[in-house]
């Protein structure tokens, strides 16, 4: 029983950055734009959040800076793909390379550390509501993400005119334009919101779980989020469900590795398991996925 509790407790923790990243990508892609800068944005959020927290001795300032960096990254990508109409694959991958490079450069130049820094910041702690332990003992950011951020995004997309506008510019920007919606501004807003969420997801790793920054800290979580968005068919709750599934398998293999009975199984194989599950789930559910109508297409008036 305690084994399952351990796995579920870890699942919620592991899923937090994925939930933030994938819901950020959902909002972005609903507007018709693919953000392949997600990996870099999460990376920059992790590093600059840590860096600001270290300099100011405040995790709150760290989180705010991370979110601001995410907003900037979203705005920069918007400028490239919305204003200039650059190919979204190229621009997004370029953003990822640029943001990871910048983070590592500042890390080495300002903090003077290369591999395995020993610098630490005070983290957001684990809270135990009503004194409950076990599964309920989670980081505050996890609670906020799963109980507030994701539901609010769902509500925003469905019940606000901004949400309707985002969906409309992603499906049929001509129609949105004729309806009096500013297509470019709407896409900027979607990308900026998305960037903020992605960066917050990265910052969770440095400011909540680890308290320090290490190279390759995101380790492909951004790419997993991209798959989750397709798995979730551009719905925030369905993407979250995918994230929980991934995290469950991830947490499970981590615990299994510690069990005596599983010592004979190569741990690399177990480590690959969540990714395999993601691929299988994606193939099963994503084959008939209907992409937003204006996916990858820059909008120009005829």
């Amino acid at each position: 029983m305690s084994f399952l509790v351990n796995v579920l407790e870890a699942m919620l923790r592991v899923s937090t950055p994925l939930a933030l990243g994938s819901s950020g990508e959902v909002v972005t892609e609903r507007s018709g734009v693919l953000n392949l800068g997600i990996e870099g944005t999460m990376y920059a959020g992790a590093f600059f959040g840590f860096y600001a927290a270290y300099q100011t001795d405040s995790r709150w300032v760290g989180l705010a800076v991370a979110i601001a960096v995410g907003a900037l990254a979203g705005a920069l990508l918007s400028f490239l793909v919305v204003t200039l109409g650059v190919n979204q694959h190229t621009a997004g991958l370029g953003m990822t390379i640029f943001l990871i490079g910048t983070s590592e450069f500042v890390n080495r130049a300002a903090l003077g550390t290369g591999f395995g820094t020993s610098l630490k910041v005070e983290t957001f702690g684990v809270i135990k509501p009503f004194g409950l332990g076990g599964i309920a003992a989670q980081y505050g950011m996890t609670y906020v993400t799963l109980l507030i951020v994701v539901p609010c995004l769902w509500w925003m997309l469905r019940h606000t005119s901004l949400g309707l506008a985002i969906t409309a510019v992603g499906e049929n920007p001509e129609a949105a334009d004729v309806a009096g919606i500013n297509v470019k501004l709407t896409r900027y807003i979607a990308l900026i919101i998305g960037g903020m969420l992605m960066a917050a997801g990265g910052a969770f790793l440095t400011l909540a779980t680890l308290g320090s920054f290490t190279l390759d800290i995101i380790a492909g979580r951004g790419w997993v989020c991209l798959a989750l968005v397709i798995f979730g068919r551009w719905g925030v709750f369905r993407a979250l469900a995918g994230g929980l599934l991934f995290s469950f398998v991830y947490a499970l293999q981590f615990r299994l590795r510690l069990l005596d009975a599983w010592q004979g199984v190569p741990f690399e194989l177990l480590l690959a398991l969540p990714y395999l599950i993601t691929i299988v789930a994606l193939v099963a559910s994503g084959r008939n996925a209907k992409y937003p109508g204006a996916y990858l297409k820059p909008y120009r008036r005829a």
Binding site: T160, L164, T167, A168, E171, A175, A176, V178, A179, G180
Partner: protein, 506 residues
Amino acid sequence: MSVSTHVIDEPGPITARLIDISKRFGDVIANDRVCLDVRRGEIVGLLGENGAGKSTLVKVLYGLTLPDEGRIEIDRAPSTIRKPSDAIAAGIGMVTQHFSLVSTMTVVENIILGTSRIIIDRDSARKKIVLLCESLGFGVDPDELVSALSVGQRQRVEILKALYRDCRVLVLDEPTAVLAPQEAETLFKAVRLLANSGIAVILITHKLHEVRKMCQRVTILRRGSCVGTYEVAQHSDDELVELMVGRAVEHANHETVKPGNLVRMSVRNLVVESRGGRILDNVSLEIREREIIGVAGVSGNGQSALVSVLCGLTRPTKGKIEVNGHDLTHGKPMDYLNAGVGRIAEDRHASVIAEMSVAHNIVLERIDGFRKAGAIDEKAISTLVQKLIQQFAIRAAPNDPVSSLSGGNMQKVLLAKVLSREPKVLVIAQPTRGLDVLATREIRNMLAFQRVNGAGILLVSEDLDELLELSDRILVMYEGRIVAEFTNSQFDRNEIGLAMTGSGSR
């Protein structure tokens, strides 16, 4: 808001006015000092061929295009319209030709898109929409997804969208291009109702009978310039066409030649099944020499299947097809081609290779005939194509890529390709859809000429006027069956229209 039925006898004061609008796109002058005004309660026609600048003019009014020169007045006050939201705020609504709806959203969502403040209130929007629907006699379910709606219903949603925003000027860009005759009737009734309630309507069209039916005044554009504004009642159709085209258009004389007795193509009890359902159900017809058989019907009632089965693209499940006495029931497309069947499909963009030249598109199907020492004989191709360009009045050079051609010229390229082989039977679908008056005229004359020369033609068209003008007989298709047949002497627009909806009984 609801639409009152109070009738305004005399059109009121000018609601919107476009003054000396000029717009250039590169070297092309789309609008050259064009003026247009529309009054309260009036339906003004905006008539012109494709490329005359009608759409550009209304895009200026709606803020989709900024004019190089000129100004706009709304209620006699200068107005700056720089984007669609400005136009909406000024009370202008537009129904674009290719609808501007998000098909994955519901009717309500499409209508409130871009209007409501921060939080959406679907319920109160739905109430307002239901009221509007009732006052106009529109049967539209507000909670239906737009993707599930018919073309006519989508158009109603577009009109509702404009009315929901309390528009006082409504622009309709070629609204009947996509509608069946009965649907067009319904639309016109609603438009009339709106005008009577005080809305100023701008009706863009190139169909004269619509102008005659709906408008008192018509503004005519030709190649970007304003020819003038005319009282419709004081001018004949031929005069209006001449104003629009710039010269008189000849009508081919159709009556003098009667169909012969030789059967070119005979189809008996044809059945085509797909996924368990019958797309063609027991279809029999005969096409004789010098005869045009018109096929009428609301799109999607088996016409496409009929065209593709009659040129070997689809295999019939049952039945028999004979061409000039040869059994081609199980023939391949090449067999049909060799038997003298020419085919022009409804989607002309899918029938050409856009990046290839006019010349190569024309000879593509018989490139084997242009070989010289193993290489393509460009000289021989060029000689033939030059001749065909003359003969078919294609306004393009042999080496122009087809993608640079207008729809009319593209269609003529297809006609040149097929007709230059002198087919005995021609199967042609929607030959003039979306084309301007002149190109339409030319193409109809070509078909009439083929008929006189002895070909048998199966003409599938959604344009009833076209069928009435050209056909010797009209067959009406409904749900894969031929439900009615009319011959030349007893054509009745209403009865044909009824049969198209499946409610005729003949």
